[in-house]
Symmetry: C2
Amino acid sequence: MSNVQTNSAISVDCVIFGFDGTALKVLLVRRKTADPLYHDSWLKLPGAMIRENETLPEAAARVLEGSTGLKGLYLKQTSIFSDPERVNADELNWICEYHGIHTDRVVTVGYYALVKLDRNMTDYTSRQGAVWMNVDDIHHLIMDHMDILSDALTVLQKEVLLSSTAFQLLPKKFTVRQLQNLLEAVFGIEIDNRNFRKKLFSSGILIETDEMERNVNHKPARLYTLNKSAFGKKGYGNFRMLSEFVNL
Amino acid sequence: MSNVQTNSAISVDCVIFGFDGTALKVLLVRRKTADPLYHDSWLKLPGAMIRENETLPEAAARVLEGSTGLKGLYLKQTSIFSDPERVNADELNWICEYHGIHTDRVVTVGYYALVKLDRNMTDYTSRQGAVWMNVDDIHHLIMDHMDILSDALTVLQKEVLLSSTAFQLLPKKFTVRQLQNLLEAVFGIEIDNRNFRKKLFSSGILIETDEMERNVNHKPARLYTLNKSAFGKKGYGNFRMLSEFVNL
DNA sequence: ACAAAAGTGTTCCTCTTACACCCATGA
DNA sequence: TCATGGGTGTAAGAGGAACACTTTTGT
């Protein structure tokens, strides 16, 4: 009864989704190493080891704050990646050296976060040397980070369908077209603009403001805010879902 | 840079859902201890510590096989419970003693499994001293097992809505009424039988067999099987969802 | 014969779909 | 004045909701 594993290190890796009004992007960082061997596999998801007396969501929030400079962002756990072979010997060495620790095994927990991609955000992240890549253009990441990313995208899609999660990717005041673009980007579909507006307005989930877009070289669009009370709280029953507006 | 936690023990706890044709149940076990102090908090979810060179899904499958005698059951990870305080000092002592290990912290990963509750199953589990309780009747479990259970139920509801997961709870050949009861139990709703049949048959997700129920003291119902190809594979686009048949 | 659940159709009405043009702004 | 995306209505058809009685079996 005692080949029980007690010396695992646990890490978190964050898939930080951003939406710029048109395309869905993910924040990637470069691994810090002098070894030129890793040059073409540098890109990875931001992550960290958990510390003593820290919960996983706390660790993920710490990574998130480090990457974006913001606290209190939307954050949700996806899956755990626990294959004893997920980190090979070289990578384990790198990790132990980099963190100054000794461990036999690293299990990682995926989180995804949603941020509003504006100028402040891109300024901050580029100062850190991080990059926002279009989800569709990411094909290789180190270790099993592609798996973590795909998994997060699947979870995001389900969350978006069944809750008001999508609005975490939009500014407080947004246009109908931004919401439509977001759903089109997340699901890779096309939506009829007229019918979309009809359903959306009659559903009561949007509150009209008296503000308009500014500095666009076309007719400015009206800005709306989300009517949170039109969504249910928890559990089901009188539960409104964004899937009402999407045909998959 | 080195208050990094490296001596966590990782456990899995399984929420094993079963459906008997009418109600949704969960398999609970009693903690093995001589201490009478724990008498009224004995019930818990079946679980185990992970072993070296074992992935978490493997550990969960091991627990599942131990509890039900069956291999290859549907199994899905839900969340991680990582609060350093989730296991108090007494409980940590009990765990270390029971498993013959030393550790400072136990992080647990929730899994849920779906089983078909038939006579063989209940015979097996009652021989083990485990009990199948109605989901609605479970109010207290040890440690944070209630949280793990609630979380699993929420994930189950989402899965059932967006996939063919529900059929894992039914026998290969089932009646329309069993499927209806299942959806009613999982979501706590009522469904109009005539309209349900109409939608179901026209959707093409059921294949009619030429078998009937036996030994029921009313008109025997026809048995159907699931037409798996009517559901999409992965991702979205031409994706059929059970939510088509449910109004929340 | 009785009890218990299976199985079956129709009507009304709502909601979905498909589709094309004018409008307001910045350059 | 031109280019760009914002914003609007209607008609035809499909699909959803509500609703009650007959059938088949075991006891």
